[in-house]
Amino acid sequence: MRLLIVEDEPDLLSSLAQAFRDEGYAVDTAADGEEGFYKATSWDYDAVVLDIMLPRMDGWTVLQKLRATKKTPVLMLTARDQSRDRVRGLDSGADDYLVKPFDLGELLARVRALIRRSAGQVRNVIEMGDVIVDTAARTVSKKGELIQLTAREYALVEFLALHRGEVVSRTQLYEHLFDEDDSTFSNLLDVHVSNIRKKIGADFIVTRRGLGYCIEN
């Protein structure tokens, strides 16, 4: 899952990016509204965490302009807690709203929920035959046994699971699993896929030659 965090307070930005990376997200950051808007329109992020008080372009404007082209789920962060502001945020197309100072765990949970909802999932648990992906606990189990995956491997499985039945292209996977700071090599993706196949089963992920990967229903 790839996130964009737009926040002008450097210390907050860095700690948020760190926290989301720890959770296996690929995280891009922007320190002002213009940069945030540029990045948000250039990539298909799975979610955007957007501060309201931003230099150059405030969060309201970023959201408004973004909504003209993209349906990316957006969570607004703000230091104002008047309900008027909350209503305005939700009305102008924000999917969720969190007031500073917030609890990190709550922010992570809300972002998870945003991504799950935008993928059309209602529950945290995705079942595919005897393989179960728990997006809240970030675990994969087969026949009741927990399977040890790295954060990156888990992210790959989760993304394919959320889009199960669809063919996901390599480009899509690169876009959603790696952030701008990752040095990306095309074979890295193959390495992850082959590792997952070893751990879960050779036929769990199907390769569609020339198209991409797929988890069949």
Binding site: P10, D11, S15, L16, D22, M53
Partner: protein, 501 residues
């Protein structure tokens, strides 16, 4: 409604006064009426006495009609004058006149009474309630009486030497006038006053009734008037109650601004307005302060929660701690600024006023800020002729430093800052000009407001609280000086501080 309310007290007093006035008026009217009635009756009696006197014939007729004329116009007395009444020493001789009331002949050779038919008409011989007369001779012997004269009649005792009319008397249910003629006959004319008393009672009842009706209407009118007079007070107290419940936007509707209550409402409204704006300011301030504190608290929370989530390397912990420290320092700076501002605005901060020189203060500040300016490639040009004034060195330096550091932060990279001092008309001045992007006209009136930022975003990480200009203004105000700003978009901003000499 408690009985102690002004309205009921007014009503009570009004009722009492109305009652007293009505009672007084009623009594006076009754007295007037009864007096007039008795006077009229007494006049009638007197007239009849005169008629009877004129009908007396006898040896002393000449004397009676002569120069010693009896004054018959003597004013009557009111009922109850019984001082002349006495029980006679001997019984009245019953000698009734003829039934037809015809003139009688002489009695026992003494004086005789002759009354013509016209005169007799004045006495209702058949009506016991009508006028009657009795005449006694000087011996106390009854000479004549009208048929309707009451049987039990006593001769009034008249002091022998006093001739002429005597005060009227009221006896049981009769009013009587009597007179002693110069020869000594006593003539008494009377009439029953049962009817008069009845009439007076009716008049009294009528007066009481009218009074009662007036009282009822008066009280009703009074109640209406007091309600009307009290209503604006009710409006005021209701509005005040709503305001004290927290709805500060309420105002008393002022209908008549000229009246006393209108003026009171006006004064209260302006007080409410001031209260409202003070509250709004306070609310804004609290909300702004909370807002400013939220970001550093968020940093500390996320940094610590993220750091504690799992094992980190020593440099990572170090980074987190540094971030926390920066946020904590920012909060400290913010809190100190807030407290300073609060003290300044409350007038607690005493300015040590001593002779000083703005140019020297400015020069010191420039030296301190040169390194910061140099980091951004900014040059500071100075033109600092002496500018003596009286003020607090440290505080004024704070103002100049703040203006300079603003000029550094808002200047373009490699720009120039000009700082000049001078003296003009009782003021020492210092000007700070930058070449920054300038401030839009719509922001200019607010830049001295606490936490006001022309740019919606924070530039917080540089330790700027958004209170610098507010504090500067508070310090300048405490010196009775002025601070003003001029700005042109794209050209730069100029602050001018004037401190009295």
């Amino acid at each position: 409604m408690i009985p102690k309310s002004i309205r009921w007290r007014l009503q009570l007093w009004y009722g009492l006064i109305l009652l007293l006035v009505l009672a007084g008026f009623g009594v006076a009217a009754y007295q007037l009426q009864s007096g007039r009635q008795w006077r009229r009756l007494d006049g009638e009696l007197q007239r009849r006495v005169n008629v009877v006197v004129s009908g007396l014939r006898g040896p002393e007729a000449r004397e009676r009609m002569g120069g010693d004329r009896i004054n018959l116009d003597r004013p009557a007395r009111f009922p109850g004058d019984q001082d002349d009444y006495r029980e006679p020493g001997r019984p009245i001789r019953p000698e009734r006149p003829p039934a037809d009331g015809a003139p009688r002949g002489p009695i026992r050779g003494g004086p005789s009474l002759r009354l013509g038919p016209q005169q007799l008409l004045l006495f209702d011989q058949d009506d016991t309630n009508g006028f009657y007369f009795v005449v006694w001779d000087r011996e106390g012997v009854e000479l004549a009486r009208s048929t309707n004269a009451p049987a039990r009649l006593v001769m009034p005792e008249v002091p022998p030497r006093v001739r002429g009319p005597r005060p009227n008397r009221t006896r049981e249910k009769w009013r009587e006038a009597f007179i002693m003629t110069p020869p000594g006959e006593i003539i008494l004319v009377g009439r029953s006053i049962v009817q008069d008393r009845k009439e007076l009672r009716r008049a009294a009842l009528l007066l009481a009734g009218i009074g009662g009706v007036i009282l009822v209407f008066g009280m009703a009118g009074g109640a209406w008037l007091t309600a009307r007079a009290i209503r604006p007070i009710h409006d005021i107290s209701n509005t005040a109650a709503r305001i004290s419940e927290g709805d500060l936007s309420q105002r008393i509707s002022v209908r008549e601004t000229e009246s006393e209550l209108g003026q009171l409402a006006g004064v209260l409204n302006s007080t409410f307005s001031r209260l409202e704006s003070a509250f709004a300011q306070q609310k804004q301030f609290t909300s702004d302060a909370a807002h400013e504190l939220r970001t550093p608290v968020s940093v500390i929370l996320t940094q610590t929660q993220s750091a504690l989530n799992r094992e980190r390397s020593a440099p990572e912990y170090r980074q987190s701690l540094e971030a926390c420290q920066r946020s904590a320092q920012r909060m400290r700076g913010l809190i100190e600024s807030l407290l300073e501002l609060a003290r300044l605005e409350a007038g607690q901060e005493q300015m040590r006023r001593s002779p000083t020189d703005l140019s020297r203060i400015a020069a010191d500040c420039v030296e301190q800020l040169r390194p910061l300016a140099a980091e951004r490639g900014i040059q500071i040009e100075t033109d600092l002729p002496p500018a003596p004034c009286s003020g607090d060195d440290g505080r004024l330096a704070q103002v100049v430093t703040n203006l300079l550091s603003n000029a550094v932060h808002h200047n373009v990279e490699g720009g120039i800052i000009r700082i000049t001092s001078g003296s003009e008309a009782g003021f020492a001045t210092v000007r700070v000009e930058d070449e920054g992007p300038g401030i839009a006209p719509e922001h200019l009136p607010h830049i001295f407001d606490r936490f006001y930022r022309a740019d919606a975003a924070r530039t917080t990480s540089k330790g700027r609280t958004g209170l610098g200009l507010a504090i500067s203004k508070a310090i300048v105000d405490a010196h009775q000086g002025t601070i003003e700003v001029k700005s042109e978009l794209g050209r730069g901003t100029k602050f001018t501080v004037r401190i009295p000499v």
